[in-house]
Amino acid sequence: MTITSQEAAPNGAEAHIEVEDLSKVFGHDPQSIVPLLREGVSKDDILARTGHTVGLRDISLRVERGETFVVMGLSGSGKSTLVRCLNRLIEPTTGHVRLDGEDVLALGPRALRDMRRHKMGMVFQRFGLLPHRTVLANVTFGLRVQGVSLAERREKASAWIERVGLAGYEQALPRELSGGMQQRVGLARALCTDPEVLLMDEAFSALDPLIRREMQGELVRLQQELSKTIVFITHDLDEALRLGDRVAVLKDGFLVQVGTPVEIVTRPADDYVRAFVEDVDRSRVLRARDALKFATPHATERVEEARGRVDASAVGRVAAEATLGEALAAIADVGGPVAVVGKNDRVLGVLDGTTALRALTERPEVAKGDGRV
């Protein structure tokens, strides 16, 4: 089963995975805790009173086909629990999970295995490779489970091994490889069954910063070609902003915010999210087009004035998708406002230095109801 690129277009807004009112309680009698969840008793109180741990509570979200959906949160916030509920490595206590509209929680053991075999691949924090098997054998694991013939397994696996940059290491054992290379094996293993969905639980968290960035780049590159639906777990904001089409933030099992990276950075839903985004390098996250929204009415006037000159190509120009940092560099270069141009050379607006600096230095307000942006 393959996805055409059209279906995979992120703006299609077609729900691939739907999660509805999902809760997970760990303990000997989770169902007995459900009423307490409804009453809104806190995670700490539930633990103190009943000895049960709340993993997730009332999570509802949609992951669109072909998007990279990042789930972020502090340790213990429920990220791993959430991603494991999607393929039922952890059984939810209440709620619904739907994949392509099909109720995942209603699947019998065999149907569940089939779904795991064909529709979802998973990548693990500490790689989860078989230490006694070669790279090739590890990558073919999913196909072997499916009962695919040896020849076909070899062929597919070799292609993926090459694609993740491990050609020549087919016969190596995992322990002979560096962490980054081991995770490439993990990635190739997950991709080898050609699943529609990739679940990645802190897939790069065990790697050195440098290797980590390299792997992030690698994933972005692969994703441009593959357009999988990716659910990516991380506790690292930079990683979330770099990879995510949208980012969800979890806190104590609650979903506190879902939004694009820019929304998360500029309009944090509460103090918890704001603490996360406070020190972020906005010059790299915000785009030129986002910076336009920081213009004051006064600035707008001057900008209108400049617009005349734009049409006469008298000022510099910068692409709408350029980062704020690049836009600032352009402003410094021309010594005045620059035009922000979108598709077909359409001028979206004019960005002056003051506005750009405000976009850069603004301390995000916690969003209350309807706000700016």
Binding site: L89, M122, R126, G128, L130, P131, H132, G142, V145, Q146
Partner: protein, 293 residues
């Protein structure tokens, strides 16, 4: 002080466990005599085959085979191979070669049984906490119960001789392999298991492709312990008619022949050392987390 506190243990409280046991054993022997005889004959047949096979091998071939095995198990090192096979030659110089082969045959068969029966029990135990709770006291009992206690019923069921010795050795030596199979399977890295599950592996696939291979070093450590315990039983087994090195130790004891006893005793120690190095070597070699092979 009330009078009953100074009384001896009340006679009326006696539980006639010994009577029940004796009756039970007699009943088993009478009712299932054919079954026991069948088991005895099968084991005996197997033993005779193995013993003949070993006896048919020229001594130098046995020495070479052991040297090759040690060499392989130790990661292709020459010195252990030479020194350990040298120990076997030494036993030959004591004039105890054929006795050693007999002991080896009994040992191999007892070990084979512990593996065939012990590993599946260990697997079942790793899957079920309830079974584990049930089996644990039984295994403890098997290991701590003085062996003399079950030598008698074993003889009643299987008659005097090598077969009874094999069965008694089995009872004494099987607990470690069960325990370590269970332990090894439970210690398998949770994330690797999760990965197998996430790719849709069935229970059977997970067991054969993931759990057992990863538990193999621990299981081999169990085999190693089992063999060591079986060797500890050699002399005792000779008391119920097993031949081989144990019989020579016993003979030395009965005749006051200290030299014979020492020679046979040393021979047992040498066999133990050789077996230990081979099994421990494989336990290490098959450990995927240990670097270098």
């Amino acid at each position: 002080m009330p009078p009953f506190l100074t009384q001896p243990f009340p006679e009326a409280w006696r539980i006639p466990l010994r009577g029940w046991t004796n009756d039970g054993v007699s009943w088993l022997v009478a009712t299932y005599g054919d079954v026991f005889r069948g088991i005895t004959d099968t084991v005996l047949l197997l033993l005779v085959r193995v013993e003949r096979g070993l006896a048919a091998l020229p001594w130098w071939l046995v020495v070479l085979l052991v040297a090759a095995l040690v060499w392989h198990a130790s990661g292709r090192r020459i010195w252990p191979a030479v020194s350990l096979s040298g120990l076997l030659v030494l036993v030959g110089t004591f004039g105890l070669w054929s006795e050693m082969m007999t002991t080896l045959a009994i040992m191999l068969i007892a070990t084979l049984f512990t593996i065939i029966i012990g590993i599946p029990i260990g697997i079942a135990m790793a899957r079920s906490d309830r079974l584990k709770t049930l089996l644990r006291p039984l295994l403890d009992g098997m290991q701590t119960m003085p062996s003399f206690v079950y030598l008698v019923p074993v003889v009643m069921f299987f008659g005097l001789g090598n077969v009874a010795a094999i069965i008694a050795t089995f009872v004494y030596a099987v607990p470690p392999i069960i325990r370590l199979t269970d332990l090894g399977l439970r210690l398998v890295d949770a994330e690797v298991l999760e990965a197998a599950q996430a790719f849709g592996a069935s229970e059977r696939q997970t067991l054969t492709w993931v759990r057992l291979p990863l538990a193999l070093p621990t299981i081999m450590a169990g085999v190693n312990q089992t063999i060591m315990m079986a060797l500890a039983m050699v002399v005792l087994a000779s008391m119920i008619g097993a031949r081989g090195l144990g019989q020579e130790v016993l003979r030395g004891l009965q005749r006051g022949n200290v030299g014979l006893g020492l020679e046979a005793g040393l021979a047992i120690v040498f066999v133990a050392i050789v077996m230990d190095r081979i099994t421990a070597g494989y336990s290490r070699r098959w450990d995927p987390t240990v670097k270098g092979r």
